[in-house]
């Protein structure tokens, strides 16, 4: 018995050792590590192909793509950077939050003006306050938050889609109507994300900043939107199952419900298009619809993810130049079915899915309607702190751990506490 065990252990050890030796073939080329999260194969496969192509064309540089879960970008990356480790480049969504780690690659890119010209407004989202010239990377995809509807369910129910200018209340009402008529369990579902809540909140009049431009989270606009979300959950318009499935500020998307056609109306964003095209396929028709309105605006949130450099060297510059080039970017965007973060890019979308095409048009068309507050919020370094405060406290209120009044107080306190920790005082 013991014998057997030792025998096995040792043989496994030998095999592993030899395998490791074999795999430890070293490259003489400069390594560039990219930490990448992808929304499934739809994004991972195209980027991997581009990297392979780059490596083939540049024998002196070896780009290594580390595909990680989104969680790792949100949680592991910051702590690695804090410890002085971390990749050369990462695909990041907390654009401002990590700005103290970004490296200025201006000296190493072929043409800095190309970045200014192509990604101009977004570059500021990465920069430290007061900095107006550094180049840290580029917008991989631009995103706009906004709703989708299950068009097939609307058709079955015989209810017409609402047009531009419809309010949130109106959308909620028709969603309930469709759900009732078709026996669909969940009229409405939202991504569990403070970022997602913020567009509608701004529509309701939320300002997020005081007159000095400092964060001031809770105001009447935010209260109105969060109260509405709270009410919808209590009334069953939204399912507590989704937001209750995790805790704190953790992101969670209702894709499983959506794919199973259990949701009539889903508040998410443009990055889902590629996924829906892939996963929903033929099961039902889905459309993106314009952002519903509140008294102040009809806006979603802008956003997106950027490839940002944590090390400045010629190899990193070269990789950035390559990936941000019009040719590569349009090929990538075309395959992942996203909205380009590049201001001047012709994209030939690689899909024959009419739903996807329609959704891309809708979101691209929504960009100009985005409210200035939304842009300012997205550009602010500490926006994540606000997003997290909204979602974790709202989540608690919805499951009954506190009243909305308490939640609002807490939201402000959370923001204040965190900023104090970060900036001292």
């Amino acid at each position: 018995m013991n014998f057997k065990f030792i025998l096995k252990a040792i043989s496994v050890a030998l095999v592993s050792f030899s395998l490791t030796l074999i795999s430890a073939v070293s490259f003489a080329a400069t390594d560039v590590r990219i930490m990448w999260y992808g929304d499934g194969d739809k994004e991972n496969v195209p980027i991997a192909a581009q990297i392979d192509e780059f490596n083939a064309a540049n024998p002196d540089i070896n780009v290594i793509l580390d595909i990680v879960p989104y969680d790792a970008i949100m949680n592991t990356l910051p702590i690695q950077l804090a410890a002085g480790e971390g990749p050369d480049i990462a695909r990041v969504t907390d654009l401002g939050g990590l700005n103290k780690y970004y490296a200025d690659i201006t000296p190493y890119v072929a043409d800095p003006s190309y970045y200014e010209k192509s990604f101009g407004p977004f570059l500021n989202w990465y920069r430290k306050p007061g900095d107006a010239t550094s180049i840290h990377g580029f917008h991989s995809t631009m995103t706009v938050t906004g709703p989708y509807v299950n068009k097939t369910l609307f058709e079955q129910a015989g209810v017409d889609l609402l047009g531009p200018g419809a309010t949130w209340e109106e959308w909620a009402a028709v969603s309930i109507e469709v759900a009732e008529k078709t026996g669909t369990p969940i009229p409405m579902a939202w991504d569990r994300s403070g970022h997602r809540v913020s567009g509608p909140a701004i529509s309701m009049g939320a300002k997020y900043f005081d007159s000095n431009g400092d964060p001031k989270l809770v105001d009447d606009g935010l209260k109105a939107m969060t109260q509405m979300l709270y009410d919808w959950h209590q009334a069953g318009t939204m399912s507590k199952d989704l937001w209750g499935s995790v805790s704190g500020s953790k992101y969670h998307a209702p894709n499983d419900w959506w794919n199973a056609a259990e949701v009539v109306f889903m508040m998410s964003g443009s990055w889902q298009i590629g996924r829906f095209a892939n996963e929903v396929g033929d099961d039902f028709d889905w459309w993106a619809v314009p952002a519903p309105c509140g008294p102040a605006a009809c806006t979603g949130m802008p956003g997106g993810n950027a490839l940002l450099a944590f090390n400045a060297n010629p190899a990193v510059g070269k990789v950035m130049d390559y990936l941000s080039s019009k040719e590569q970017l349009s090929s990538f965007i075309g395959q992942v079915l996203a909205i380009p973060g590049h201001l001047d890019l012709q994209v030939d979308y690689q899909t024959d899915d009419p739903n996807a095409k329609h959704a891309l048009n809708t979101f691209a068309g929504a960009v100009p309607t985005i409210d200035q507050v939304a842009f300012d919020l997205q550009a602010h370094v500490d926006n994540r702190i606000m997003f997290n405060a909204i979602i974790s406290r709202l989540g608690q209120a919805i499951v009954g751990e506190m009243t909305m009044e308490e939640a609002w107080t807490r939201m402000d306190e959370d923001v204040e506490k965190q900023l104090k920790e970060k900036y001292g005082g």
Binding site: F5, T20, G38, G40, V68, I79, T152, A260
Partner: protein
């Protein structure tokens, strides 16, 4: 009925007291039956589900066996088409292949009469399915997503960490059991003290230390921090205390160095305890999650658990892969267990550790 079966039944129904069953007898078998269902059921269900297509997995209510929709080649169409049972207006049911679905209607064709298409409301059709195992769920991740590499990394970590753990812990246990020396009690308290510090509590500072050694994204960064386990030292020490002192003295008389006594006398004699620790170490290392999650962020150093978590990442709920790779992750442990179950269970019972 074979003789063995009838014997088993005879034994099974044998009464404890000659003439009556006690209610506890009935209850015991009921409880055990329920236990088997509850303990094994989830794993069996996981195994079955891991063989379904993604659509089959998402289906509700779920089918027990892996089924998938039958597809047929229809003349005039490039791709195979899925087959449905369609309820006709007269109530009869007909098998039709679907060409395309538009809104709430489906354009369908009779495979036997490919020339003619019909429009069918989608709620009148029902998928026809057959038993089909989706091996792709296993093949894809293993091939496309480097799961074999993760497997290798997990194996490397498990084996190397176990070897290191066994050696250094047995050395410490040897010192703490065989010798009497100044500071021994201090060393014991020192080791006991660390028993109560789970890694979770000192996560950040340990990360800090590991980062200072440049072991981030290195398998060694996972292997080394947990190499000295107080539980291991205690288990081995407790066992070594039972070894006859005279053996060690005999070895000393035989001109053995202390090191030779350790590896030629004490180590071979402690094999039962070492095997228990080895099994635990294998279990800990193979199942380790939180620490590798923090230390390893490069795909080529991923372990199975981390790879599994990546699949389960909220942006990529690919349950088909998640389930199959969960199976892959638990299989080695399950196999080792099946092989050594008696040894493991008695070993644990006698040492009372986990």
């Amino acid at each position: 009925m074979s003789e063995t079966t009838s014997r088993i039944i005879k034994i099974a129904t044998k009464k404890r007291y000659k003439n009556k069953y006690h209610w506890t007898d009935y209850f015991s078998y009921f409880y055990l039956f329920l236990g088997v269902l509850l303990m094994f059921g989830p794993v069996v269900w996981l195994g079955l589900s891991s063989l379904k297509t993604l659509a089959g997995i998402q289906e509700y209510p779920p089918t027990i066996l892996p089924l998938s929709q039958i597809q047929v080649d229809v003349e005039g169409y490039d791709k195979p088409l899925p087959i449905f049972n369609v309820t006709q207006e007269d109530g009869s049911v007909k098998q039709l292949a679907q060409i395309k679905r538009i809104g709430i209607n489906a354009k369908m064709v009779d495979p036997l009469n490919p020339g003619e298409t019909v429009k069918v409301p989608i709620d009148k059709r029902e998928k026809i399915r057959e038993f089909k195992i989706q091996w792709q769920n296993y093949v894809d991740p293993l091939r496309k997503y480097d799961f074999l590499l993760y497997f290798k990394n997990s194996t490397f970590i498990t084996v190397v960490a176990t070897i290191i753990t066994l050696i250094i812990n047995s050395m410490a246990a040897y010192a703490l059991s065989i010798y009497e020396f100044r500071g021994k009690n201090f060393a014991l308290v020192f080791v006991i003290g660390t028993l109560l510090i789970p890694l979770t509590i000192i996560l950040v500072p340990v990360f800090y230390v590991v980062a200072n050694f440049g072991m981030i994204n290195s398998l060694w960064g996972v292997i080394l921090p947990g190499a000295a386990t107080p539980t291991g030292v205690f288990l081995l020490r407790q066992y070594m205390l039972t070894l006859p002192r005279e053996l060690i003295e005999a070895a000393r008389m035989d001109h053995a160095s202390e090191w030779a006594i350790y590896w030629r006398v004490v180590l071979p004699l402690s094999i039962p305890a070492i095997a228990v620790l080895a099994i635990f170490s294998i279990m800990w290392r193979w199942n380790d999650f939180l620490w590798p999650l923090i230390v390893l962020s490069k795909s080529e150093v991923y372990t199975l658990q981390i790879g599994l978590n990546a699949f389960h990442g909220e942006l990529t709920s690919q349950w088909n892969y998640v389930l199959s790779m969960t199976m892959v992750t638990l299989l080695p442990i399950a196999i080792i267990f099946a092989y050594l179950q008696k040894f493991i269970t008695t070993g644990i019972a006698s040492t009372g550790m986990k």
